[in-house]
Amino acid sequence: MRALVAMSGGVDSSVAAALTKDAGHDVIGVTLKLWSGPNGEAPTAGCCTVSDAEDARRVAAQLDVPYYVLDYTEEFRGGVVDRFIDDYTSGRTPNPCIECNRIVKFDRLLNSLADFDCDVLVTGHHARNVLEEGGWRLRRGTDPAKDQSYVLSMLSESQLSRTRFPVGELTKGEVREVAANRGLRTAHKPESMDICFVGQRDYRSFVRDTAPGALAPGPVVASDGSEIGRHDGVVGFTVGQRRGLGVASGEPRYVTRIEPATSTVVVGRREELAVAGVTLSQLTWTSGRHFSGNVTAQFRAHGEPVSAALHSDRLLFSQPQEAVSPGQTIAFYDDDRVLGGALISTTFA
């Protein structure tokens, strides 16, 4: 089998490449160049910096596999960055890393596999892709603290059939051990946390610089509609946010709703954050079969799974949930098996 290994320069994808080679496959390592600043400079933070590409290149050389840097800046700009700005300026909570996985890493790379003369795509995600019931099924990674199945929940069965996650069977400690035993330079590399194209700057200044027209000042209002403050753009506010609201109040206030049409931020008491359920869009089922009934749902990357009932595109939580907002990805599980994923369109109380 010939495998295209997406190497970010981190320890997980380094070990994914090593394990794939050990299994006797023909490996081609690639790093995706996704973003450069206004003057073409490479990002300095996040998962795709110049030094990361350099680490990936050196690991590929250590493993003696060919290595290339592929330019996907155009796809990334259109599919991820523009969407990120659009989501923020529309009052939705963007998921740039999920979109990047879905649109660039999986959609584009999987569609290009034949062009690169490869059979499968290998990444360093912590999830397990298991052949069962005659098809490839996604399960949570072995290391519960590192499980990334949530961000992969919108992969289709056909995409899963051409994808492998070799480190999903290992704990993070075991991954580092494999890397250290083989002397890979990324063995002790810290994990990246920042959103790569935002880097160390905050979201607001990124959106302000990238889409200067996207910010309109507006009121901060209480639940009863009375104006209690002003803000200079809905960008940067997230449902559930407590800090930085710019309003003085005796009791803690939270963002409960964002209304981009009127540039209004609604704040209220913690109880008002409660969401009974959500409507969904872009439902994807890993098995290809639609599912309805009782599911376990997870709406944050490392959030607690909660039980819910799914009927068509409506999901009703069995207990009201806080800080659920439109734009977030929601993943459905049956035990550790991923049933599918969707985007949250609207919330209802």
Binding site: I28, Y68, L70
Partner: protein
């Protein structure tokens, strides 16, 4: 491996490495020293300088040794702009190498007046537009002789003449890095003030270049220090590289006739073979005013990064013309300046032949290329 990336760099010609070795070994002296081993090094350096100057019709003191094309371009532009005259502007061309364009942009950011002139569909500079931008502020006009991505050749002499006619005080520089293998260079008949060459483009060592500086040309150094190279470029000499550069220049100049006919024939045959098999291929290298070694081709519907990866896997080394530090291929500013869209530029590949290219390997590469393109479509 079939190596079709000679415009990026070349393997050393025979005898070059051999000529260099003593100066990395027993004749290790600092050419500025006062003792025997230094005198031998100094002697070799000056001999190299003489041989180099002879190949371009210059006198030895007009040769400044540098670390290569990028440094020479930087010295030509910054040196002209920083020198204490009343002229501080730069006029250059959109299809120049980054070493010129980025230096120009740096000077612009410092507040110096800079102008970048466009080119036509074939990549030839608009002479009238260029001349119109040269004025009393202009310190230096910089025009690449032979383009690294397409191989188009500017007819330099008449442009130099016209600039000098109207503005005798303006310095004219040419980045001639790609030209030396195929073009006879005579700085006198060219009338040029500054000219950049680098050894590794014609079978010499990397890290070894020169800037030709016409006698009497005011030039502020970029590297200040011990005052080597008559104060124009400080730093301990790399004598081995200078000797290697001289050896390669001598060999390349002697081989020029053969290079033009034989390498040109190999390139032309390769071009015909591609056009006969890949019917919709578009050649971006113009039919006339072209070098014998470059060929830039657009393959509609085939992204160059994919094709280059597949070519590499199949043992053929080519390139997209320019690469950034990460190694990703970028949209070519040269092709975009010629009017190609970003998508067309992303479907374009440069093949460049060199002193050791053979017609057999070129034919084999053309067949591999055809098969890969068929498969990718």
């Amino acid at each position: 491996m079939i190596y079709l990336d000679h415009a990026a760099t070349t393997p050393m010609r025979p005898a070059v490495w051999e000529a260099m070795q003593p100066y990395a070994d027993e004749v290790f002296g600092n050419s500025s020293g006062v003792h025997g081993v230094s005198r031998r090094a100094k002697n070799a350096l000056e001999e190299a300088r003489e041989r180099i100057s002879a190949t371009i019709g210059a006198s030895p003191q007009e040769i400044v040794f540098t670390s290569g094309g990028t440094e020479s371009d930087n010295l030509a532009l910054k040196g002209s702009v920083f020198n204490p005259s009343s002229r501080h502007g730069v006029v250059t061309v959109a299809t120049e190498h980054e070493a010129v364009l980025e230096t120009t942009d740096f000077l612009r950011r410092l507040g110096f007046p800079t102008h970048v002139v466009g080119v036509d569909r074939r990549g030839l500079v608009d002479r009238d537009a260029l001349l119109a931008l040269v004025d009393g502020d202009t310190a230096v006009v910089s025009i690449m002789w032979l383009n690294n991505e397409t191989g188009v050749i500017q007819d330099l002499a008449p442009i130099v003449r016209r600039v000098k006619e109207h503005h005798p005080d303006v310095l004219v520089h040419s980045d001639a890095v790609q030209a030396f293998s195929s073009e006879s260079i005579d700085v006198e008949s060219l009338g040029i003030d500054l000219l950049t060459l680098t050894g590794h483009k014609f079978g010499g060592p990397k890290g070894a270049g020169i800037l030709y500086v016409r006698e009497g040309t005011p030039l502020e150094p970029v590297l200040h220090g011990g005052g080597q190279e008559l104060g124009r470029r400080s730093g301990t000499h790399d004598v081995a590289s200078a000797v290697g550069l001289a050896t390669a220049m001598h060999a390349a100049a002697a081989d020029r006739e053969r290079f033009r006919s034989q390498v040109g024939q190999i390139r032309d045959d390769f071009e015909k073979r591609i056009l006969a098999t890949v019917e919709d291929a578009i050649v971006n290298t113009p039919e006339t005013d072209r070098s014998p070694q470059h060929l830039n081709v657009t393959f509609p519907g085939v992204r160059n990064q994919t094709l280059l990866l597949r070519l590499d896997r199949a043992g053929v080394a080519a390139s997209a013309g320019s690469a950034c530090q990460s190694g990703a291929s970028e949209v070519s500013h040269v092709l975009e300046s010629m009017g190609l869209s970003a998508d067309e530029a992303r479907q374009s590949v440069r093949f460049s032949f060199g002193w050791n290219s053979t017609s057999d390997e070129a034919a084999e590469a053309a067949d591999i290329l055809f098969e890969l393109i068929e498969g990718l479509r």
